[in-house]
Every structure is written in C-alpha cells, then in structure tokens.
Amino acid sequence: MSWFKRSKEGITTSTKEKKETPEGLWEKCSNCKTIFAADDLAKNAYVCDRCNHHERIGSREYFEILFDEGKFKELDKDLTSGDPLKFEDTKKYTDRVKATQSKSGLTDAIRTAKGKLAGETLVIAAMDFAFIGGSMGSVMGEKIARAIDEAIKSKCPFMIISKSGGARMMEAGLSLMQMAKVSGKLGQLSEAKLPYVSFLTDPTTGGVTASFAMLGDLNIAEPDALIAFAGPRVVRETIGRDLPDGFQKSEFVLEHGFLDYIVERADLKKTLALSLKMFKN
C-alpha cells in the first residue's frame, strides 16, 4: 500500500535513508521494486518505467497532471468534519481526524477544484487515500455537492477521481447518506446536460462504488485498479475459495460491462480532453 513520497516530504526522510540515497531522493516501485530518481517518476506521472505499475497518487498530483500549467482554484478548502456521533473506538474520531490532518497536510479525504483542461473549464473532485483511506463522510459529500453546483453554475463538465475504501465508519449513518446526497446532485447535473466523468483509480470500493463512482456518463479507470463493491477478502470468505486472477481489477470490470475505457495515466489528459470535446462539439 505504499506510494511515492512527494519530494516535499522527502526532505524529512530519516538520516538512514538519506545515507542510502546520497544524491537526493530515490523511490522504489511498489510492484517491481526498481529504484528511480523521484523527479523522473514525477515526470512519468508516477508510473513505473519498467513494469507500468501506476503508483497511488493524490489530489495534488492529479490536479498537476490534469489542469493546464497545473493552475486551478481550489473550492471549499477549509471544510472539515464535525463529530455528530461523538464517535469513539480505540481512538476518538476527532483525534483521528486531527492526527491525519497534521500528518497529511490535508483537511479531508477529498479536494475540489476548478481549472482548465486543454483550454476548457472543468471542475474536478479528487480523493486522497492518505486521509483515513479516502473514506467518504459528510465533508466529502458536501464538497462534491458544492462542486457540482459550481459546475452547473459555470456550465462545465464535472469529474470525480475516486480512490476510497468506502464510507467512513466514524460518521456511520451520515456517511451512508452521502451516497444519496451526491446521487441527487448528479441528477441535477444531468438535467443541466453537463457531462460527468467518473474516474476510478486504485482502490475504489464499498459505498463509493455503490453510488457516484458507477454513475458517470463515462466510467473510466486506471489500469489494474481494484474496483469493487465488496472487497476481495469479504468475497473470498463468502464463497470459501480463491478468487480468479484479475478479479475486480479494471480490466475485469471493463470486460463485464461497467467501464467505458481504461486509460494509462500518461495518456489521461489528452484522452479526457478528446472525450470532453466530443460532448461539446
């Protein structure tokens, strides 16, 4: 479950690691373990040169890849979660949120932004798996809802980049409601005849899959991404035998008819630009 560290974080790597990589920052592909210079990986959209493994990246990297010159206006930046249930398991929910915020530098598991892609305005909501597994709570629901309002107001397409373990347990029933809330909003977007692109990346599971991630005018995915309602462990336990190779991976989901296409990260921007152009022209 490792992903390439951003170079900013790299500054704080331990002395031991620094010794091993005296010339600066090196990263290892989490699949084939090949070592690369971090800068080269960033240039390659965090895809391994050797095995084509798409490392998990976050909103920051996707915005950089997709928005022209990496320029965008972030929406509802300061929205953070409340604690309506006063939820406490082995930790208090509020403490968990605070700890994750300071560790990740993020406010919640999604960021929304407006910018231009190939010269055309677009609103994107992108999840961050680093924030409690990209889990969907009230903040995610509200930020997506407002982002859709922004797309309707700007008469522009809307895109969600999903990367999530599903609903956030610590908001229980309220998390569940976000599935319905966003779906209601997507209906309004649809009525405005504005395209919605759902981009599914590794992993997209649970309540996210069982709502907006599957509702795109276009459902598109990165290669080899886990896309599931019930996760593989649960399915394996249910059926009591091993799962077939490639089960619940993008290619499998495409084959079963739930995706329009799979796109390599390197081709994402130009492919998406063409799709959006087709809706428009």
Binding site: S81, D89, A172, G173, M179, M214, F229
Partner: protein
C-alpha cells in the same frame, strides 16, 4: 415454538407461570382469576421495564429476531391479501431475496417492494438470508419504474444484513445496481415511502431506501455497517459489538435525532415479534397517513424536497 432472547427470559417465565396457573385452574376447578390477573399485571410491567431500557445491541438483536414479521407478511397484512407478486429483472433471473408487486391498500394500488428473509432454515437459504444480488435491485427498479409509469405510490420494506458479497454479484455489478437505484429513486415522480422493518445494513438497504419519507420501526437498526463488522475493523476483534452498536448510533431514536430518518413507527409494547397484528396495524396506519400527506404535492416539488432532505444529511464545519 417462540424464541426468547436472553433479556426476554423473565417474560417467558411469567408467561409460563400464567399458562400453568390457568391449567391448575382448569384441573382443580379452583378460581385462579385473581392469581392470573396478578401475573398478567406483573408481565405487563416487566415488559414495560425491559422494553423501555433496551440497549442499542439489544435492539439489534430484536431487529433480527426470528419471530419478527418479514416483508411478505407486512404486505399481505396491509393489503388484506390483495397482492400480486411480480417476478424477475427481465435480464438475468428472479432474485428471491427481493420481492415486489402491486397490492391494494384499502382499494388504492400501491407498489410494494422489499427484501425478504426466510421463515425457517430451508427458506432462509432460499431467500439468501435477505441479501439481494444485483438482479434483486434491478427487479426493484423495474417495478418502481412501472409504478411511476402508472402513477402509483411506492412503499419499500427494508430488512437486510447487506447486499450479497458474492463472486457473481461482483461480476454482474452489485455496486452499479445499488448506485442506479439510489440515483433513480431520487428522481421518481411518484411518492416513495421507505420503512426499515428489521435490519438496515448499509448500501444494501439504501438500494431501496431513498424516498420522501424514510422511517424506522422502533426496534430496528440502520447504519453504514453492522456492529459486528464495525467491531472487527475498528477494534480488530469481534468482541466489541455492543460498544460498536452504541458508537454507531444506529437505533431508531438516535437516527431520528440525527435527522437521518423522518419518523419512528411504534411497535406493540412487547415488540413486533410478539404481536404481528399490532405491528402490521401500526405500519398500515403510518403508510396511509404518509400517503395522504404526500399525494397532493406536485411531483417536481416532491423531488426537489427529496434532494434537499438528503442534501441536509451530514455535519461539517
């Protein structure tokens, strides 16, 4: 034979005593009326005592009580048997864990849909324990769209431990099926009433759970995960289900307080599982009053209010 949960045991003892006392009365021809009356009074107060102090976990147990009425019994009850089950999703098969069809509610046609659990071991398997496959959700949607076409209101009964997490379910798009239902239900032009009659587990429940009125019966639960699974994930042990049940705020009272459900349908004092007739009567009364309330509003206003209501469900700062 009736099943008694551990916390219901004192009631069973009193009930047994009443039966015995009645038998003695018959056998000995001694008038036991006073004694019986006293025991019945005791039973009543003990019932009240137990049912007014239920913990969240006890309510979860009640929601799964094998003697509770299931969807079909409610449908048959509220329609007085004037119901025709309609089968199949017109694509893959007929999912036995999801039932539906038109019924007459005091002469008015209503589309009834719900998850169905089995009443005995054999039927539980047949009904897949109330866990629908994608076909179940797609059958439900087909019936809802038909109801919309003929301008009939929809009532759904929710009672599921979850959508089925099987291999074929994944292949045939369990996620997409639930997503589609949520999306379409949000925009149905006819009134939609959703009643949680037992277990309301996560996406599997929400897949038939979007409506103008979402209500819970008193002794049911509705949340994003079962207390057992929540315990195993967050506490990394199955031992914390009681704690998880509390933390999740999944009871009808909590869910109403959080604004996630609109109303609570009272159950008979000893629970729906001990008094089916009473439970069905309360459900019918509730459905009729919601339908009266909803029937005069314009479809577009209802849809807007529905979207608005779900948009307000959440807390952020």
């Amino acid at each position: 034979m009736a099943t008694y949960l551990d916390f219901e045991e004192p009631l069973k003892e009193l009930e047994d005593q009443i039966v015995k006392t009645k038998e003695i009365g018959v056998d000995t021809e001694v008038d036991m009326a006073d004694k019986i009356g006293e025991l019945e009074k005791k039973l009543k107060s003990k019932t009240k005592e137990i049912f007014s102090g239920l913990t969240p976990w006890q309510r979860v147990q009640l929601s799964r009580h094998p003697d509770r009425p299931y969807t079909m019994e409610y449908i048959e009850g509220v329609t007085d048997g004037e119901f025709q089950e309609l089968h199949g999703d017109r694509n893959v098969k007929d999912d036995k864990a999801m039932v539906g069809g038109f019924g007459l509610l005091d002469g008015e046609t209503v589309m009834f849909i719900g998850q169905q659990k089995g009443v005995n071991t054999k039927m539980r398997q047949f009904r897949n324990f109330g866990m629908p496959n994608p076909e179940g959700y797609r059958k439900a949607l087909r019936l809802m769209k038909m109801a919309e076409k003929f301008n009939k209101p929809i009532v759904t009964f929710i009672d599921t431990p979850g959508a089925f997490p099987g291999l074929e379910a994944e292949e045939r798009g369990q996620g997409e099926a639930i997503a589609r239902n949520i999306y379409e239900m949000m925009r149905l032009k006819v009134p939609v009433i959703c009643i949680i009659i037992g277990e309301g587990a996560s996406g599997g429940a929400l897949g038939i759970g979007v409506g103008d009125k979402v209500v819970m019966m008193e002794n049911t639960w509705y949340s994003v995960i079962s207390p057992e699974s929540c315990s195993s994930i967050l506490w990394r042990s199955w031992e914390y289900k009681e704690k998880a049940a509390e933390a999740l705020k999944l009871t009808s009272t909590n869910m109403k307080k959080l604004g996630i459900v609109d109303d609570i349908i009272k159950e008979p004092s000893n629970g729906a599982h001990r008094d089916h007739t009473g439970a069905i009567k309360n459900v019918k009364k509730a459905i009729k009053s919601y339908l009266t309330e909803l029937k005069d509003s314009k479809p577009e206003d209802r849809i807007e209010a529905r979207i608005e209501a779900f948009s307000n469900r959440g807390v952020w700062k």
